[in-house]
Structure formats: structure tokens, C-alpha cells
Symmetry: C2
DNA sequence: CGGGCAATGTACCAACCAGTACATTGCCTG
DNA sequence: CAGGCAATGTACTGGTTGGTACATTGCCCG
């Protein structure tokens, strides 16, 4: 049964504002984003931004929180339980790569938030220690590999997660400057397979005990 | 002989504007930066920004060009000729780490430029293929290691440079969000030695032939 | 040493932009 | 079905901000 297209729908209005705001903030940064532009791209008006989110900053906070929530959701879908530690770790790294490439808006929001030294993020309670689940997954695979004697024992999960994140975030976040400096396009489809395999290789050969 | 403090000094005025603008743009981003604030932090007035740089964007372009020029200068100081390929590569990675930690303003400018999809950078002729020198250094060490049989032969200099850059840039560029998500401070001095050694370990164990 | 121009300062403007006062309308509940 | 409130629209504002018109001043060169 399709819902009748109501003229008034608080949920839809709020959701639409949030979706458009995510786009605009991610395109232009916090200061660069225009409240009027966000409203214009919506079926509603600027007035509603103030009604639902209090103001530009409140809207940005909601965008940030929602974006992180979405990422956490996506992370939950990952399961490497049936693989051996070596292949599991490779899968982890390469899936993280895919994941980042598929969520460029989110990476851009994170970059923007870092420009502002994380001052907004710090005020969102639900984001505290949000990284834990992702790191637990790494830790699990790492521990399994250590027990089986295939991984070296002197590396922490945090370090592994850091190396993987750094590589995958950089791909997206710095694609324009890095690409220009070296005359290569990190986002070009023909490079994807190689770049994807690269982080797998790096992590596996780093962790493999010899 | 100390120069007399002249009241008028085109060179000094221009340089001061550029230095302050670098700070302000790096602190607040392109849209967030205020022309008036830049002028206020200077011994001169806003008028001079338009006199020397044409406008806000011209000033930003000059900041970007100058920042990249400074980095290229710094890179030239690096010499790993007397070291064996293994130690040279480690030195390369760890020095890059030091270098990025020491030039956070620059990393922030790069992040800002990426938010704007590199549209300003593309218009600066002197930045075309500026990455070449840095990559040549990596290539040299890599080739030496391959010849001596200590490095694997299936990795390109570009890939190595990418992995190192990604890790080092991430440390600085994402310190706020990553630090908050995991309750760790990437910039804390007590973590520096470990984080520095980490990228050395990763690169060396990745490249080492077994 | 004085004319002329580079360099600088002051005061101002018009557009922009986040935010709001006030009116209105549709939907749900009793 | 009607009354009340959540939800929405319109029109406006005051401060901000990039940019400029016009005046002035100090330095260098002939």
C-alpha cells in the first residue's frame, strides 16, 4: 500500500533537509555552505531548517551525527569469520577501501570537521568512542592470526586500523591534490583494482611473521 | 648592518600579508577566512591585499603556491645516499613523518584545497608535476634495493610514495576526528616515536623480499 | 631638491547571508 | 466536525564581508 502523498509530513521534510544538507556541506564545507542553497534544493523553505534544527550549526551537527551513524551501520555488515586470518585481514583492508570509495561524501565531511579541529563532533555524545566496533573486528582477526602463528605478535589492532584507515581515507580525501601533483587519477576506475590490492598487500606482508 | 626600519617596504608588506594569510586560511578554510581578519593581523590594511594580490582568491593562490614552494625546498634537503636501501627506505618514511608533523599548516591547506576539488591549484602553473622530485628519490632507493636483491621487484615508486604520504598526511589531517573516535591523541609527544617507527616498519616489511 | 609615481591609508558601499516576526494552513483528536 | 496545534510559508532585517573610490604620503631619480 503506497502512502498518500501528504502535503505535510514532518518526517519527510526533516529527512529531505538532512539529505540535501549532507550534500551541500560536503560540497562546500561548513562556512562555504549556504543555508539558502540548502533550502532551495528542497521542496520546503529555509524556515524549516530553523524549525527542525535551530540553525545552520544545528543542521550541520545533525548531518555529522547521521553520517557517522550510517557508517557504523555499514560496518556491521562486514563478516570475515569463515576466512583464515591472512585472508580475513586482506578482506578487511580491501573492503575498507571499497567502503571509503563508496562513501566519498562522508570522507569529505570528516575532512571538513578536521579543518574545524573536531569542535562540532566533540559536542555529539553518540560519537564518543564510536571507533571501538571497527577496531574490535581488527583485533579479533589479529588475535586469531597470532594464535595460529601466522601473524607477528608485536602489533596492536589500533596500529593496523590506523594504517588501513590512513590509506583508504587518503585515496578519497586527497585525490585532487595528489592526483594533480603526480599526473595520476586515484579515482579512475582502471586504477581501482591495483589500489585496492595494494593496501591488502601492505597490511598482509607487514603482519605476516617470517 | 641592520636595514633601517623603513615606513614603506613593498617586499615586507607583501611577505607579511602572505605569512598571515597562510595562517588564517589554514585555520579557517577558504570560505571561513576573513579578508578583514587577515588585514587586522598585519601592520598594513586590507587595501594592500587588493593592491598586491587582486583579491581574496588571488591571495589564496599566492599562499598555496608559496606553501608548495616551501615544501619542495625542504624536500631537497633530504639525502639518504650513504645508507643501505633498507635503512634508506626507513629513513625516507620516517623523515616524511617528521616533515608532515612539522608542517601542519601546509597539510591543512592541502586538505582545504581538496575540499575545493583542487580547482585553485589547477590554475597554478608552477605546481604541475611538482611531485616528481620526491618520487624520484623513492625510485632511486627502490631501484638500489631491487638491484641488491633485498627488495621485491613488483612494486612501483608511486605506490610506495602513496603509502607513505597517506599515512603521514592522515596523522595530521585527521588527528581530531580519528583521535576522538578512538580516545587517542595522534599528536601527543609520547606517541610520536611509536607512530614514527610504525610507518618505517610497514614500508620496510612490505618491500623486503622473502 | 623637487617632481612623479609606487605604495599606502580612510571611508565607504552594495551584495550577501544567517536568522526571525508574523501570518497561515492542514491534520488529528476528542 | 470543529478547535487547536504542529507544520509551513512569506517577507523582512541587521550585521557581515569582499571589494572600491579617492586622497595622501614617502621615496627615488634626474
Amino acid at each position: 500500500m503506497v502512502e498518500p502523498e501528504r502535503q505535510r509530513d514532518a518526517v519527510r521534510t526533516r529527512a529531505e533537509l538532512l539529505a540535501v544538507a549532507t550534500e551541500v556541506f560536503s560540497e562546500s564545507g561548513y562556512s562555504g555552505a549556504r543555508v539558502d542553497e540548502i533550502a532551495e534544493r528542497t521542496r520546503t523553505t529555509k524556515r524549516m531548517i530553523y524549525y527542525y534544527f535551530g540553525g545552520k550549526e544545528g543542521l550541520y551537527l545533525a548531518v555529522l551525527e547521521e553520517a557517522y551513524r550510517g557508517i557504523r551501520e555499514a560496518e556491521r555488515g562486514l563478516d570475515v569469520g569463515e576466512l583464515g586470518p591472512l585472508e580475513a585481514m586482506r578482506r578487511l583492508a580491501e573492503t575498507t577501501y571499497d567502503h571509503h570509495v563508496a562513501h566519498q561524501d562522508f570522507i569529505r565531511l570528516v575532512a571538513i570537521e578536521n579543518i574545524h579541529r573536531g569542535e562540532h563532533m566533540r559536542r555529539i555524545e553518540s560519537l564518543r568512542d564510536l571507533g571501538q566496533p571497527a577496531m574490535s573486528l581488527v583485533d579479533e582477526v589479529l588475535a586469531r592470526g597470532r594464535d595460529e602463528g601466522v601473524f607477528r605478535a608485536d602489533v596492536e589492532a589500533f596500529d593496523v586500523h590506523l594504517v588501513i584507515s590512513a590509506y583508504c581515507v587518503f585515496q578519497v580525501a586527497n585525490q585532487y591534490t595528489f592526483g594533480h601533483l603526480f599526473g595520476r587519477d586515484l579515482a579512475a576506475p582502471e586504477n581501482a583494482a591495483h589500489l585496492r590490492g595494494l593496501i591488502g598487500d601492505v597490511v598482509v606482508s607487514w603482519l605476516t611473521r617470517r
